[in-house]
Amino acid sequence: MLFNSIEFLFFLPLVFCCYWMLSGSRQWQNLFVVAASYLFYGWWDLRFLLLIAFTSFCSYWSGILLQKNDGNRRVQKWISAGNISLNLFILGLFKYFNFFSENLAALFRSLGYEPDWVMLDVLLPVGISFYTFQALSYTIDVYQKRISPTCDIVTFFAYISFFPQLVAGPIERATNLLPQFAKSRSFDYGKAMDGMRQILWGFFKKVVVADNCAVAVTVIFNHYTHESGSTLLLGAVLFTFQIYGDFSGYSDIAIGTARLFGIDLMKNFHFPYFSRDIAEFWRRWHISLNTWFRDYVYIPLGGSRGKKGMVFRNTMVIFLLSGLWHGANWTFIVWGAYHAFLFLPLLLLGKNRKYQDTVARGRFWPNGKEVLQMGVTFGLVMTGWVIFRAENMTQAIAYLRRMFSASLFSWPHWEGCGIAAGGILILLLVEWIQRDKEHALAIDRQIRSQGVRWSIYYVLVLLILMFGGESVDFIYFQF
């Protein structure tokens, strides 16, 4: 079930009303969350439910076993390693088996052998990367005693399957989400209203910006061999905003929806295109995944302590894994490596934490240096997105080569980009003004007049209804 679908339009109010009718009993409320979430997830394919139930049960049971073997660290290590291996095996089987198999076969062929390999014809379950990482987070946190394991299976299943963030994140931590399901929740009017605002902004980003950009991006990327460099540059810019509008839009809808149920999810994006360097960009983009890799991979490997060689290795590992997490294609791995090489100089020079505050804080206009920094960072990120979007490395290289050719200085083909351009301008303006707020539409304290606030909401609703692009699946559903 998609957020921007008629089914969800009926599903959400119904679930909302039933949820709060059960507020007298936390257990019944959690059970209802599980039922609603399984209905939401099963709408794609009923077979997916078996896998998520299995993953949830294994992780839950590993928590119980860890608790039973408290004091025996060696056994606990085996239990957590077993559960982590099982989850990664399932993820690897569904997502990466064919990729590695094909590449290994290609390697053997290049050596003159013709392998007769088995290839799997499997359907990739929606959201498997997200809930698997969420399940892993629980096991690791219990092992490292950051959280006590839960004996309440319903609460645990609610934590794994909570429908707003089930299929495309944010990837929640057990330390944040599980305690919220473990305690009673009461309706918070202010939180719910702010949640609705965030949902509205999420829909604007997805439906007006991302979906309209997608139309032009598809045409440009499919015909890149015939287009001028300037048109390819336009395509790259549009894809940069498409992926941002799509993914951050989804996250906003997920976070806003969760707030309707009294649940606070972690922030996943914090205006990343206003970043002054790559390090800042990675603190603002897909925050839940990056912090997951930082806490569960980078830091255990040694982090940035130790020799420069170790730091280099650790950084490369997490960026390559981050790329690989996105999918089984060399383009994602190269994209990860590309960002690693952009990040490493800052890290090795100790400048990766230079920009912790909001750009142009207290001012409306950024100064020249900030504009240049944001422009350069945007350009570097945009180049990476071309690699990310390409179907294979051949296309990525050809696209970039053509983009940076002499035809870059010709007039691009603008036809059909008007609405996308308008949406992008509104997005940038609103997010710039609100860059130090929790989300772009957190205006209840700035604008006291309800009439003015409602006018803004109505304008956004009408923009969504009137300029909504052709419905395109959320990009991150494929991960």
């Binding site: 009303c17 709060w20 309706f187 918070d188 009017y189 719910a192 209203m193 609705m196 609405i419 409602w454 909401y457 109505y458 609703v461 209804l465 009137m466 300029f467 909504g468």
Partner: protein, 283 residues
């Protein structure tokens, strides 16, 4: 507090639901049951797009009434035909413009959902199809029924100019139109065929002369579509007819002079063909 939240939600959503209801009411109140041709004595109705709008002069093509409208999709042609046949039908023949451009007209051509007063004539099912295709930024025009009387729009447009050379120059280097049939156009063309059968109207497809059509359109795809779907409909195909350059407004349309010549040729051929068909039916 939750009741306050739900109440506020309902109050917010209410205006958004009232507006479509008001628009629907506007259509319901303004839609006539039927319309008739201004001149009931003419028996041949001409419908279609700018090709017939510019190409057939109904003063020279006897007994005809040209109700073609530039960029008109078959959805609107169907709506017009429905309105004109709901009440007392005064015509018995329909000449419908069918050309490589009309069959492939899709969302990239704004005229597929050309907005005129004919919008008020659509029945609910046709209106739904229209709304599915219409870009949402045109939604504001749905309020038109409130101040515009529904009427039939169209008529012969005799264009005086000849801008053929300029048009040919502007098409240089562009790819041929692939003529992939647009589904909605095909659907409504089939509906028109069925409606004509139902109402005993003799239907003819007409392809008005174009300048070097094979150079700009994939004619194989066009003819394949006609062959596959409309083999039984008589097709007056003048697409390749050679006319002097001075007869063309642009590569797709005849000008007034071209329309004059073509209308006379059509007059002669059409009535000959009808006599031939009448003879065959007697035999």
């Amino acid at each position: 507090m939750i009741c306050k939240f739900i109440r506020k939600g309902i109050v917010f959503i209410l205006p958004l639901t009232i507006l479509p209801a008001i628009i629907g009411l506007g259509y319901y109140l303004h839609r006539p049951d039927s319309l008739s041709l201004p001149d009931a004595s003419r028996k041949i109705l001409i419908l279609g797009d700018s090709h017939t709008e510019c190409g057939i002069n109904d003063s020279l093509f006897s007994n005809s009434f040209n109700f073609s409208e530039s960029s008109e999709s078959y959805l609107f042609c169907y709506a017009k035909l429905q309105m004109l046949t709901s009440g007392q039908k005064t015509f018995d023949t329909l000449l419908l413009s069918v050309n490589p451009r009309s069959l492939s007209a899709g969302t990239h051509i704004p005229g597929v959902y050309k907005f005129n007063s004919t919008l008020c004539l659509l029945d609910w099912s046709t209106l739904q199809d229209y709304l599915d295709e219409m870009p949402l930024y045109m939604a504001g025009r749905l309020l038109r029924p409130f101040w515009q009387e529904p009427c039939l729009e169209g008529g012969f447009l005799g264009l005086p100019d000849c801008k053929l050379a300029k048009d040919i120059a502007s098409r240089q280097g562009k790819d041929k139109n692939s003529c992939i049939t647009y589904p909605l156009q095909l659907t409504y063309l089939q509906k028109i065929v069925r409606l004509c059968e139902e109402k005993n109207i003799r239907l003819y497809f007409v392809n008005v002369p174009m300048y070097n059509a094979g150079h700009y359109f994939n004619m194989d795809n066009f003819y394949q579509c006609i062959d596959t779907n409309f083999r039984e409909i008589p097709f007056l195909d003048y697409g390749d007819m050679l006319l002097p350059d001075s007869c063309f407004m642009d590569a797709g349309h005849l000008n007034r002079r071209g329309a004059e010549i073509f209308s006379r040729i059509l007059e002669r051929d059409f009535h000959e063909k009808r006599e031939m068909m009448a003879d065959n039916s007697l035999k």
